[in-house]
Symmetry: D2
Subunit: 369 residues, 4 copies
């Protein structure tokens, strides 16, 4: 008698039916093939070779496989991208824009940070290479904000804040002094702002602008928790001082909107870059269907790039397998987790998929939409 | 010439002024004292001994030191607790309630998950010991939801959802068919719901109920991203079907409320259990003051328990030192990060502080409030 | 059809025989019990309460359970402690000594670093509290060596090195100019050296001295990879310059010795503090029996404290479950992994076991040996 | 007054002399350049673009920069590769062989596991793609050994063990019944064994064979801690049963050998794939010179790929900066740590360097040796 975790395991090795039987046949059939980098010249070539190596390189390869399957599935699954962290100041903006332009994702759920820093760059400001080995008190005095090894220019941030405040004022004015909107609607307004006031040559690589352009909805469920939220707080305080009604961002309206997208999708695929609210928010769309009585509406495909782990019990690090118990993900779907920093994994995956699909097929996908 | 990270370091070892001078005097003065567990019988005794050991045990000891300082500071800093993850289903509910009852925290920012699972237990339902080594498809069929090694009972969850929907309906009715509120206000309503309908003998250990009882505000900035948010979505859909106005959770109203608390606090201390929105949301309160032109209003004290790391560039894993550059934390404040699972670290820290303060002093604190 | 990892899973949920059946009965039976720190005053009390919480606190509690079972098993399993890292400079020396004195471990496999720094302290030198936020070039100039947040005094290290060189010279002389020994034998000699030349009042807490005193063998399979190994290199170079035969540390002799201990043990328990060579070296003792044709000689009990993870494919982070495939660990044994810094977990576990066994039973164990 | 870690920081922001001055000039000069994967077609192109992104992608790019500098330094630094983990069964064998063939490394320090699994494949056996989601008891019954997601064939392992035993017997016979050798010498013998008995078409990609062919020394300081060590234990037991002297692997002889290489090198570069003994063993070569009275003989260049972290205090996760305090690494050297799974990072780095150096220059390097 033994206990692995909490459960008693009895003396005989467990019978596991068809699963193990099919496994046994396969046990020693698929060889590891040592990667020969002298023979490979493309990114998709490296990623294909990783299918036959081990550990996280193999999981990275499977991200490419699963992403390709999502894109080639004739049922045209709706693809949700959950984008946490600070990917935009880290230089990942154009990769997201590529995903949008080439119709490789249909819905984005992200943090206010990614949206805000995209705005910053759209107006012609920049982020800078820095280092974590600095005197942060000195940075504070110089009004430089640090994101690990990356610097931002606090004075430029103030200029962007001002634009957000003015946008909120303008939206209210255009709505007869009262406006309630989802974060998705506000993000769409920010896309329009970039179109009008963004710097030429920069705005084209903005992911917000591309989403606006290609009608890809962007949800920021915790919009208040970001510099955009702080600018809206300034708008809020200004408004109540003047006796005006501030713009209201109605969280639950977002839930309704994304639910409608999920419900009307025959199939769905999910991509999680990091965890946090974006991951959970996408996971809960299928769970929401469960609470309305639907069954087996979990996501069909998924891959996640994370540096978190399941053993701390948080949602950010949890496995797709755990999601199966909730009905968030389908037992018979295809999923993989790759443990890697997203600034390495994401560009490689997207490039490999592009190469593999020859750009054209991806372009063709859902053109009729 | 050398480069550590991005920067050029010139040939002589850098002069570092007073900092290094004061360090040099101290270099080999404070001995490591091997911990002698046979001589120690209390939790606070172990934690004190950890002051003179190394690595994360020393950081854990410093959490106790800094928490004690916050509580004993005659300027009575406002203490913000950021509580991410799924601490309630993990059995940490009473530890939070102790912090609230004993006035050891003044404001809580948390996830919808913690609030929801607290509700579940307040109505007399439970969470269960499970294992990650299970067949999740089988769990799905049995309507059991898994959180790593912990199980929830989906059918009971539905009962709780229903109560949330009815509460939202009721609030609307009481507000002449239209209500806009902050998440903080809604959480307060949930506290009242537990008071009215919670199970006797269970509700007393609910942290939401204790916060309601002791007027400790609870913010859930991403309320939509949780089962509470999903229940409100059901309310939303019901409402629009019936032509009624759904309850609106106004995120920015929360920002205004917490900003008022921060602004009126002479000093502030922060406690981060995990990262995510709760951590960032508390960090940005002082940054918001910055954007209004204030200077040096960063938090004065802080400790965080995390299993994330700074090198991925996300806010969840960032250091207090990084926060200094933004003005979120004071350069001259006292801060420590302990890398540890919170289910181990949090009970130890709270118990050690209670023992050290003899319960009484902590009770006395801010009684006049 | 689906693929989790590499394997095809067919459409029906897998049948898993008795294992799942026994699980199903139990699914929602064992409640999570929120820990009430106001009701608990002992370390063993906290650790018992952790049996009914979640995540790593529950795993920590299981370490205590499994350690207790090992000690109370009437078959008196031989207990191997694998001790990696730099636990001694971190202040964990006396905890190890307690384990030895109270007969809670029978064999230690460790790094040269732990042995060396134990030596340093036995001769009356110290380690010091430092910080990772220092100028390491300045430390180098001051001849201070840093181990994360802990400092060592390079000049004192030289004095200890000299003693090791002289010991090696003396052993050769006592063996007619030629000596081949296992690391275990050399470590025993170092224990004798501490007895003769260690500082009174310090040597009593040395784990090497306690092992020498209680005849607990200490293996350092990678002895060359440490300051002890460097001192022996000095002896080697001196010797060949003088035309003398240097002392030989024969690795394979160690293998034979530890194999004899394993082979003659009815049962075995293993404790891994960190990974590295100490963990693998203990794991391979049962695998060695396999290569000689034995079956089912895997370890019976085990717990490991680690901050590594399985997904990188290294031995340090691997699970006991993986060890089952090799025959290193018994399928029906009892094992748990707790992800935690050992400087926190180890003292708590040992104290809780001591409290639970009332010291006396542990003392009584195997007194006849 | 404040304390970061242990040290008191006084009220003014610290002056940091020339370092900060040079930093200030640079603060906001180097822009983050969003990577545009549609414009890049080569691996070296991606890696160059990563120089201007953030987080671990930038660190990965710096590995390429530093490796290139090592190879182009006219002082021809000796390059030590520390290779931990189980890189060979993971399919990384040919990458190592490429490094050897193209003279991109001069010395290898590795684990017995890497050497053993290279042997296995050299004799025409294979490793297989597996999954961590399997029943390990079933694997045990089928004599399949699991390394995370990779399977080995126990029966084939036995055949390889037999060859090692016979080699040891043969070496003894050739040395008149008595042999003492370093691990380096034994590994060279294994290279010769592959030459004689390895399978054609397979042996050419063996890293041991390539090292033998190109006279690149391979050190396995903890040889006993591996299947090679276990085979030598079988030889040991056979020998003593027959009254013969077993082959002795003398650890300290290895120390002397590698010390001679280090001492005679004008400059040195280090590459650490994972931590463990290989990393520390290479680090201590310069420390050994220190203990002989040399100063400033730390390594000049280094990069490490790791998934460990410094905050646990172990050597595996420690920074190069920490190594500076010991004299292991030069304060003014160039070093970078990239936190990533090596199965992803290593092939990318090596490919990028090859592309950049056009293969030819790397080939030319040190041809006269």
């Amino acid at each position: 008698m033994s206990t692995w975790g909490e459960y008693v395991v009895e003396a005989d090795p467990p019978l596991e039916g068809r699963e193990v039987t099919s496994m046994s046949r396969e046990f020693l059939k698929k060889r590891i093939v040592p990667i020969d980098i002298e023979e490979i010249d493309t990114i998709s070539g490296i990623l294909s070779a990783f299918n036959n190596t081990s550990f996280q390189s193999r999981n990275l390869a499977r991200c490419v496989e699963i992403f390709t399957k999502m894109l080639e599935d004739p049922d045209e699954p709706t693809i949700f991208l959950g984008l946490a962290g600070a990917m935009v100041p880290a230089g990942m903006k154009k990769v997201i824009s590529t995903l949008v332009e080439r119709k490789m994702v249909d819905v984005i759920v992200t943090t206010g940070a990614n949206a805000y820093h995209d705005l910053v760059e759209s107006f012609g400001h920049y982020h800078y290479k820095g280092s974590p080995e600095v005197n942060d008190a000195e940075l504070y005095q110089r009004r430089i904000d640090r994101i690990y090894d990356t610097f931002g220019d606090e004075e430029k941030f103030r200029l962007v804040d001002e634009k957000i405040v003015m946008l909120a004022d303008r939206i209210r004015a255009e709505n007869s002094g009262e406006a309630v909107m989802s974060s998705r609607e506000f993000l769409d307004q920010l896309g329009g702002l970039i179109e009008r006031e963004g710097r030429e040559g920069e705005k084209e690589s903005s992911f917000l602008w591309n989403c606006w352009q290609h009608k890809v909805p962007v949800f920021v469920p915790a919009l208040c928790d970001s510099s955009i939220g702080l600018a809206l707080t300034r708008h809020y305080i200004n408004s109540i001082k003047k006796g005006l009604k501030p713009l209201v961002i109605d969280q639950i309206r977002d839930n309704h909107e994304i639910f409608e997208i999920k419900k009307s999708s025959k199939k769905t695929g999910v991509i999680f870059i990091g965890g946090g609210v974006p991951k959970n928010y996408i996971q809960q769309t299928s769970y929401l269907e469960e609470t309305f009585g639907a069954r087996n509406r979990g996501h069909d495909y998924g891959f996640q790039i994370t540096t978190d782990r399941p053993e701390w019990g948080g949602l950010s690090g949890c496995t797709f397998k755990e999601g199966v118990s909730w009905g968030k993900d389908k037992h018979l779907g295809e999923f993989v987790t790759c443990y890697c920093d997203a600034t390495i994994a994401l560009p490689l995956i997207v490039k490999a998929v592009l190469e593999r699909l020859g750009n054209a097929p991806a372009m063709k996908r859902r053109t009729e939409r």
